[in-house]
Assembly symmetry: none
Amino acid sequence: MHTFTEENYLKSIFHLSKNELDTVSTNAIAADINTAAATVTDMLKKLADKKLIKYQKYKGVLLTKSGLTAAGKIVRKHRLWETFLVNKLNFGWDEVHELAEQLEHIKSDELMDRMDKFLGFPKFDPHGDCIPDKNGNMPSIITQPLHNAASNSSYQLVGVSQQSTSFLKMLDKLKIKIGCKIKVMDKHHFDGSLQVRIDNQTAINISEMVAKNLIVK
Amino acid sequence: MHTFTEENYLKSIFHLSKNELDTVSTNAIAADINTAAATVTDMLKKLADKKLIKYQKYKGVLLTKSGLTAAGKIVRKHRLWETFLVNKLNFGWDEVHELAEQLEHIKSDELMDRMDKFLGFPKFDPHGDCIPDKNGNMPSIITQPLHNAASNSSYQLVGVSQQSTSFLKMLDKLKIKIGCKIKVMDKHHFDGSLQVRIDNQTAINISEMVAKNLIVK
DNA sequence: ATATTTTTTTAGATTTGTCTAAATTTTTAT
DNA sequence: ATAAAAATTTAGACAAATCTAAAAAAATAT
């Protein structure tokens, strides 16, 4: 079993891994978990000793298969807890992240299996992110950030890649929510902003920055 | 906010406290939480610095008001979580203790308030133990007439069930007054009289009739 | 009332996760 | 290609929670 702290490092590396080839840098992890780079270096050595990551001095890290599984299980717990908090205890989707950060470290597979069943085996959390299976594996579907999407096509919002309150509040105001239909009407080359229609409402303009954080399929 | 470890010490002291007068010994705590006595001594100093317990070297400890509140809140969380696990996730009442030991340390009053509501404001956990209120207070204090009290325990006088002048005069003479500490040293089966110590004075003997009219907690 | 036993505390070490400052390696820019 | 900048690691230190062994205090038993 891993410590609370080790789990947080694994999760951070997991989230910072764009793919299985690019390594994650020491500084990126340090910034993500708000810790001195020297501290991260120490922990990376420990995680490498435990074969959870592949680490070469000065070269950054990659999760090994067992590290990926471990991280996937933590993410699964995080997302199941978020789902519980929103669906059963009526928290807002923008107020559950901190709490789930604590709850994800509770050690019990049995608990999460029962929770999974209690929630009706959800596939997505309240932010639209996939919930890994009980072995920590991510189900794969083809998704992309909205700013890459083609004009004149319709998509469905399946997730956001940012959890900041200000961003989520903005989406609420724009009535953009997980599962909604987004039709890209036009793309403005000048500033990267997009003219879109949410659920067939009147068209609105969203900035490139917002579009980058909307994950659609 | 208290650390995970501090919370466990507070909870242990809470459970080992038979009443508000007898101190809890270092060894008792050590046995309860499975830790070396020396370690307990260190932590007691720390808790005393934080005014959570009253501690005198070699004399054992008592929870202060704020320590009692803190402990009560942890117990509340523990029992609400047990209720959730049994009532909603269908765990057996005998398999939830370890899990609740983890969950009770999650920091969020809001979460427990919502959980309380979700569970229908239960008054008792699956083992039948009282659930403290949101301020950490145990619902009711159990009082009894002194003649029912156990030997070798200390109580506090909270009332009398007779107002006759002769009775009250006698109490004055014996220096028994509301709020005083009464330690039962011995019970004589023959006539029901009790050997007691009032506020740590030398022991005196009181008749069963007097004992019946002293309400203690 | 004193000696023995038990309980508790002190002293000194250890582990984990953290830090800062200095040294080293890699990357970037001229 | 080399100097400057940025990233990373090493070295040394610290706080929290723990331990064992030894010393001190309290309780007990003769």
